[in-house]
């Protein structure tokens, strides 16, 4: 019968009281604990002996190339362990590695199936294999969502990304864009990528980029994203547009912790082009360079307002295009924004 005692805390195990003494076993013997043979063999009194015989065979069997007689083995163990130096624990060099003995492969693949039911166990096993092997996760991050004060009209910028997937393969999406308050959206793009882990720190990404402003274009994307030595977060991608234009973008960021919550983040971005694209104001070669630094405060890891400054240069032919359009090829942005993820 179930006997429940409700006790006040702490868990008081009753003070030591005399218990029925079984003097045949006046102390608990852990060895009994490790030798379940007796219990297992309740319905066969000889099972224990068979087991021992069995083990005797195993000493001599499949991997026996390196096995000495069991007597010698025991002698060695006794001597070795007795005299072993501190620091040389368990010298296992004389124990051969090898395949398990054949009987280790006997019986059904899954031991519980015959007792619990094959279907029920298969479903349970599939669920558990999923649960203990890293469930797919969703992540969204606004790395930059900011107000940009600058000469002329102030603007805004977003740079967000996220993924859904497992450890090795994910659907990764990215979007960035910017514009002027009072003006129209200058640029906006959306990327949908398949992201595949190619090393401990790097993903290979491939997919499609859709430009949402200007002459709308679609690009094929191939790139890598990950963590470089010294903890630089790097995102580098090449783009091939439906017009045949080839461009590339490399971004790098570094989190420099000043305190546990105050973080300085230098950031660099370079855009490159293989050809002049006059309608987009892009010149061949180095197109634009951005250098910025943002200082954020992590009220929570997930929620961090920041201030910063970013300098953008159009370079070479791109600068010429800008001047022709009456724009300054060099712009300084003073930014205030919010970095968040969930």
């Amino acid at each position: 019968m179930c006997k429940t005692m409700l006790l006040s805390l702490p868990l008081i195990v009753l003070p030591q009281v005399a218990v029925a003494q079984d003097h045949d076993h006046s102390s608990p013997n852990p060895a009994e604990v490790t030798a379940p043979v007796e219990e297992e063999s309740a319905d066969d009194p000889h099972a224990g002996h068979q087991a021992m015989d069995h083990s005797g065979h195993q000493v001599m069997s499949p991997d026996a190339t390196a096995a000495s007689s069991s007597g010698q083995t025991m002698g060695h163990a006794a001597m070795g362990h007795g005299s072993m130096d501190h620091g040389a624990a368990g010298d296992s060099t004389d124990i051969p590695q090898g395949l398990p003995p054949p009987e280790a492969f006997s019986g059904p693949l899954y031991a519980a199936d015959a007792f619990v039911g094959e279907e029920e166990m298969a479903a349970s096993r599939a669920a558990v294999a999923r649960e203990v092997s890293g469930l797919p996760v969703f992540w969204f991050q606004a790395d930059r969502a900011e107000y940009r004060a600058r000469g002329g009209q102030d603007g805004y910028l977003w740079d967000v990304q996220g993924y859904y997937g497992g450890d090795l393969d994910k659907f990764w999406f990215k979007s960035e864009g910017e514009g002027n308050f009072g003006g129209e959206l200058e640029s906006a793009e959306l990327q949908g990528l398949w992201s595949h882990a190619i090393g401990p720190w790097w993903d290979l990404q491939a997919g499609v980029r859709q430009d949402l402003t200007g002459p709308e274009r679609t690009h094929a994307v191939i790139g890598v994203q990950g963590l470089a030595p010294y903890l630089f977060e790097v995102d580098a991608a090449g783009f091939l547009s439906t017009r045949g234009d080839v461009t590339a973008r490399i971004e790098a960021e570094l989190d420099q912790r000043i305190t546990q919550r105050l973080i300085l983040q230098p950031r660099a971005e370079v855009n490159l082009s293989a050809q002049d694209i006059p309608e987009l104001g892009i010149g061949a070669g180095l197109d634009t360079v951005e250098l910025g630094v943002r200082l954020r405060y992590e009220f929570a890891r997930e929620f961090a307002p920041y201030v910063g400054v970013e300098q953008e240069w159009k370079v070479g032919q791109s600068a010429d295009y800008a001047r022709l359009a009456g724009e300054d090829p060099s712009v300084t942005n003073y930014v205030v924004g919010l970095r968040f993820w969930f």
Partner: protein, 586 residues
């Protein structure tokens, strides 16, 4: 001895939840599993005692509150921890598990020798007990000592765990005046699935002890650059810690005022059980030496220490003889020293001892990187580097931390392996991260000697090497580079009664408490012949190795996993099978 603030919280909560229920037209007559919502009564703190041959354990959704934190919980028989199951060696046990919660559940009897079908691991030995269902466990009690039980699902970190004490059939060899369970755990106010997701998508999101430009860590610029170059953190001691966790002793947070009574001069046994999800604890009682008499439920030759580190799922019984002061603080400091669990040994109600402040957080060392002293003679000056020293960063900076050619062919190299230990020396003598030089006696595995002679003293006939692998950045964990999903049909195989030496090599910078179900194994720790200590859970120190000898004498399929629950749930899980299933009759 619960404190008043808690009863106030409970009243507040009960009235609030009753109001919410009536608003949506539901009474409490509909069980939680039927509504699918996670609500329920506020969990009581501490355990009732269940004993006898037929027990009933009922799982329910609940809420838990401690300090200023509150959130969802799971209770068994209404409390966190659940009931203390107190048994007698040699009895039979029947337990009816009733699931009144909203999730699948199970009970695993951690450390008990049971037929494998009674082991309580969904997907391996049973199907999860679904909401509204029941399951009957039935097995004989073949051993004595301190153990515990817990769900083998993500209900465990929510409160689904409790202690087990089995009194020896022949009477207790340890004469004590008082006998207490000290069950350590960590409780998060947010759901385990969400904790796990944040670990995956965030960058060590719960660590607020990282290196910064203004920290006081004894690291040179060169060492800091070395760590950055490796893309790893010397402060990566605990994945989840005090910024999220409240550390509990018997369900009581530090502010909950848990007391253990004693009279000066009494011998008191404290049965420490680490039932936490993700926390190693440094346990000490300032001013009071502890004599360790049992590890993982099995008696060891007494060792007097001032402190010990206890990995997840391990248990240690210690004897203390408090005298002199009116009170002593039991301090269970998280290994990363971000917080602690606290209880008082008090000679009269309300007696308080000073609680020492948290010590400075430790840092990972060269040894934790798998570059121990006395090593392979790679192209660097090991002689100048002491064990536990963090110097030499410049030299390390130039080194490859991922020499996959050092791995045996059994390890599958992929994105899930971010490091290979260059020189994984045996670290059985290590007291645990941060306890190298604390100025007093700290337990290590080499001090454990089985009190009684082991039965099987055969030399192992086979060596099985298993690598512990992972990727901190991606939060992937595995054995031999393979998550459970990749090897669910390829278990680790042992023949019945085979004597095997298992060598665990840790190719990560975290300590992993590795648990084999259904068996005790013997630590290979230089103990006198025949006295290797028996354990069910073994901590493998970062970058190092550890070995155990196993007599595989329990037929069936058994779980084998890291007991850091989010490591297990991200792949560090395997099945060990012992065949033939008929045992010696096969």
């Amino acid at each position: 001895m619960s404190t008043n603030p808690i009863s106030i919280d409970r009243r507040k909560f009960l009235s609030a939840s009753a109001g919410a229920a009536s608003l949506i037209g539901l009474g409490h007559s509909i069980p939680a599993w039927a509504t699918g919502s996670h609500e329920g009564a506020l969990a009581r703190k501490g355990s009732d005692v269940l004993s006898g041959e037929h027990l009933t354990m009922t799982v329910a959704d609940a809420r838990f509150a401690t300090g200023n934190r509150h959130g969802p919980a799971v209770t068994v028989n209404g409390s966190v921890p659940g009931p203390l199951v107190r048994l007698r060696e040699g009895q039979n046990l029947v337990v009816d598990l009733l699931n009144e919660s909203s999730m699948g559940t199970s009970i695993h009897w951690h450390g008990l020798l049971v037929p494998f079908l009674m082991d309580g691991v969904p997907g391996v030995t049973m199907a999860a007990v679904e909401p509204g269902e029941r399951f009957r466990y039935e097995f004989p009690i073949r051993q004595a000592g301190t153990y515990w039980w817990h769900a083998h699902t993500l209900q465990e970190p929510m409160g689904h765990y409790g202690p087990i004490i089995i009194d020896p059939a022949g009477g207790d060899p340890h004469q004590v005046d008082r006998d207490y369970v000290v069950m350590l755990s960590d409780w998060s106010p947010i759901d385990p699935h969400e904790v796990m997701r944040k670990l995956k998508v965030g960058e060590a999101p719960f660590n607020y002890q990282k290196t910064t430009a203004t920290d006081d860590y004894p690291l040179s610029g060169a060492e800091r650059r070395m760590w950055a170059r490796m893309r790893m953190m010397p402060t990566d001691i605990a994945d989840v810690s005090a910024p999220l966790y409240t550390y509990l002793i018997n369900g009581h947070g530090p502010e909950d005022g848990l007391e253990f009574a004693f009279q000066p001069g009494e011998r008191v046994r404290l049965r420490f059980i680490n039932g936490s999800a993700m926390t190693f604890f440094n346990v000490r009682i300032p001013g009071l030496p502890m004599t360790v008499i049992s590890a993982d439920g099995q008696d060891v030759r007494p060792v007097e220490v001032d402190e010990f580190q206890i990995g997840n799922a391990e248990t240690y019984d210690v004897i203390v003889e408090p005298t002199g002061d009116a009170a002593f603080a039991i301090v269970a400091e998280a290994m990363d020293r971000s917080g602690m669990g606290i209880a008082m040994l008090a000679s009269q109600p309300g007696a308080q001892a000073g609680v020492p402040p948290l010590r400075d957080p430790p840092l990972l060392t060269m040894a934790d990187m798998g570059m121990s002293h006395g090593s392979s003679g790679a192209a660097m000056d090991h002689g100048a580097m002491d064990h536990g020293d963090t110097s030499g960063g410049e030299a390390m900076g130039a080194m490859n931390m991922r020499h996959t050619s050092l791995l045996p062919p059994s390890v599958v190299v992929g994105p899930g392996v971010d490091m290979v230990s260059m020189n994984p020396v045996d670290r059985m003598g290590d007291p645990g991260i941060g306890l190298d030089n604390v100025g007093h006696r700290v337990l290590n595995y080499r001090q454990l000697v089985a009190a009684n002679m082991n039965r099987d003293m055969r030399q192992p006939t086979r060596l099985k090497e298993i690598h512990l692998t992972g990727n901190m950045e991606r939060y992937m964990w595995s054995f031999d580079g393979q998550k459970f999903s990749a090897v669910a049909d390829d278990p680790i195989r042992f023949a019945f009664n085979e004597r095997v030496r298992v060598k665990l090599v840790n190719d990560t910078m975290m300590a992993h408490p590795i648990h084999l179900h259904g068996h005790f194994f013997e630590l290979v720790n230089d103990a006198p012949h025949g006295h290797q200590p028996l354990k069910h859970t073994l901590v493998v120190q970062p970058g190092g190795s550890a070995q155990f000898d196993l007599t595989a004498n329990e037929p069936g399929d058994w779980a084998f996993h890291c007991h850091l629950i989010y490591h297990m749930h991200n792949g560090m899980f395997q099945v060990v099978t012992v065949r033939p299933l008929q045992g010696g009759e096969g």
